[in-house]
């Protein structure tokens, strides 16, 4: 397992800035993909991104920017929604997985946690976790279940309950835990903060960060909550209208004046801006 920070790279220098894309070993490369739904609706207009092994990469942007579509293009779930990758390639460990069957993508080690939790309501918490093991051929399922309970002790308390009766936070934990049962190399997280109280968002992101460090799981994180996403990520991309408009290491993104304005709601001086001003500014200036 590679370490998420500088440890796995060839020439680690103490106190060097976080490793950027390209320096670490690349796990996933998305090359200029175009995605269409129902053969006519063009949603992604040439998206490229790189996910280095062992890192957390954030994909930010507003509603309808194409973040979820990007994740579904990688996991192969587009096919269930009458969409497909029309151009470009998605290279995962040397293999093009664009338009691959979702089950084979999961077997290759990529699993997507869908937006809005989507737990199996009429199954118990433990049965939800078991569904995650369907592609596994090894017998280490027990150990992995313990591992999930170790990260999410609350799920252990609720393991015999119907998942539908768990709280929103517990359901999000279950959705992540269920995905971990696949033993993924690459975890695609779609809006884990959706509809959760700020305290819970902090708690879940802290666990996500621990999973990244301790399990060496690479994470591609889609979020609207830019502040919390940038607090855990190593590098980030910003999408608008089906294109990547900004990219770079987290420190660089955090200091970018446009990102500050649009996504963090700060002025040049770093003070918080009124939401109304942000909106007005947004209306005037857009990435086209």
């Amino acid at each position: 397992m590679t370490q998420p920070t500088t440890a796995g790279t060839p020439l680690p220098v103490a106190g060097s800035p976080p490793v950027t894309a390209g320096a670490a070993q690349t796990l996933l490369t998305v090359n200029n993909i175009e995605v269409v739904y129902q053969d006519v609706i063009l949603v992604l207009k040439g998206v490229s991104l790189t996910v280095p092994k062992g890192q957390i990469v954030a994909l930010l942007g507003t509603n309808g920017a194409g973040k979820s579509t990007t994740l579904k293009a990688i996991s192969g779930l587009l096919s269930a929604e009458e969409g497909h990758v029309r151009q470009g390639s998605i290279i995962y460990r040397g293999r093009d997985i664009a338009n691959a069957d979702p089950a084979s993508v999961v077997q290759a080690g990529i699993v997507q946690v869908l937006e809005g939790r989507r737990i199996f309501k009429h199954l118990t918490v433990e049965e939800n976790l078991r569904v995650g093991t369907i592609t596994r051929r090894d017998g280490a399922v027990r150990e992995d279940m313990e591992m999930v309970y170790h990260y999410f002790p609350r799920l252990y308390e609720r393991r015999r309950q119907l998942a539908g009766y768990c709280s929103g936070g517990e359901q999000q934990m279950l959705a992540i835990g269920r995905a971990l049962m696949v033993r993924p190399q690459l975890l695609l997280l779609d809006e884990p903060s959706l509809g959760l109280a700020p305290m819970l968002v902090q708690e879940i992101f802290a666990i996500v960060q621990r999973i990244n460090v301790e399990q060496g799981t690479t994470i591609l994180l889609v979020e609207q909550n830019a502040r919390v996403a940038l607090s855990v990520a190593h590098s980030g991309y910003i999408m608008e209208n089906g294109r990547i408009v900004q990219e770079g290491p987290v420190e660089q993104l955090k200091n970018n004046p446009d990102v500050k304005e649009f996504y963090l709601g700060l002025t040049e001086s770093g003070t918080r801006k009124s939401y109304r001003d942000v909106k007005a500014y947004r209306r005037r200036k857009r990435y086209m």
Binding site: L77, A103, R118, H122, L123, E127, V131, I134
Partner: protein, 295 residues
């Protein structure tokens, strides 16, 4: 009193068979939201195939039944692959109409091969009545009850304990989420068709051994499965069991108490009257899925 007890026991035996037949129907509905109108016809076809193996090919009865069950599991996979998979993503009503068409085709084949007559399944149990208290039971009744109970138990264990069984329930719950975890939804559909046909044929063979074989009589069980399943709730396995037992008991009680009074046979009508009454009070059936809502 003895008469009532006898009717109840007979009703439970035949009801357990309906439950078994209903299970397959529920399974397909749960996995793919398809109402399989050909269920009764598959049941009849399977029973006739087992009959043909035992009589024309002169195989022993029990191996020919087992062979038929295996063949029908495979047939389920084939039907799913050839007839239903091209329709994935189409309207559910299209798939339902295909099942209506399948029903006619299978019925036609059975009339061509076996005609409309009645046949008797070869006896494979001694016809010595077993008398418990005041209740009379034939060995076949007991065996039928045992087979149904064993298969129902086996299936519920499968859904509770095996990963594939749990995944089948997961697909019924949220197909896309199951897909995202690497569950092959196609495989699940295929397996549910396989299991559904096995349960149908097992039920058909039991009924055929207790009464007689006829194309019309056996495929009519497909119609009786509807009240059993709808009473229990379309998507509930325990509901199918309770619904099946209820319909079986009602049929027998009607035949025993009401028919002699009126001089006409109402046994096949009463289940549907009960169906209407229950649906008026509980539109989702007795055990139908209640949407889980958190407040």
């Amino acid at each position: 009193m003895d008469f009532l007890l006898q009717l109840l026991v007979n009703g439970l035996v035949i009801g357990s068979v309906y439950a078994l037949a209903a299970l397959g129907f529920v399974l397909i509905y749960k996995a793919s939201r398809v109402l399989n109108f050909a269920h009764g016809d598959f049941l009849a076809l399977g029973t006739f195939v087992a009959f043909a193996l035992a009589t024309s090919l002169r195989l022993p009865v029990i191996p020919s039944i087992i062979l038929t069950l295996v063949c029908f599991f495979v047939l389920g996979l084939v039907v799913e692959r050839v007839v239903l998979r091209p329709l994935i993503g189409k309207e559910v009503i299209a798939v339902i109409m295909v099942s209506v068409g399948l029903s006619s085709v299978i019925k036609g084949i059975m009339y061509l091969v076996w005609g409309p007559g009645y046949f008797l399944f070869p006896e494979f149990l001694p016809d010595v009545p077993i008398i418990i208290g005041d209740v009379y039971l034939s060995p076949m009744h007991l065996l039928g009850l045992a087979i149904s109970a064993a298969l129902l138990g086996l299936f519920s264990l499968f859904f509770k304990r095996s990963t594939l069984g749990v995944a089948m329930r997961a697909v019924a719950d949220d197909q896309q989420a199951a897909l995202s975890l690497g569950v092959s939804v196609r495989k699940i559909f295929a397996v549910s068709w396989g299991i559904a046909l096995v349960s149908a044929v097992a039920a058909g063979v039991v009924v055929g051994s207790i009464t007689s074989l006829s194309t019309e009589g056996l495929s009519a069980i497909g119609i009786l499965v509807f009240p059993a399943v709808i009473v229990g709730g379309l998507d509930s396995v325990p509901g199918a069991v309770v619904g099946g037992l209820l319909i079986g008991v009602l049929e027998n009680l009607t035949a025993g108490f009401i028919d002699p009074l009126l001089g006409v046979s109402l046994r096949s009508v009463v289940p549907f009257i009960v169906l209407v009454l229950i649906l008026m009070m509980k539109p989702y059936g007795l055990f139908g899925t209640v949407e889980i809502e958190r407040v």
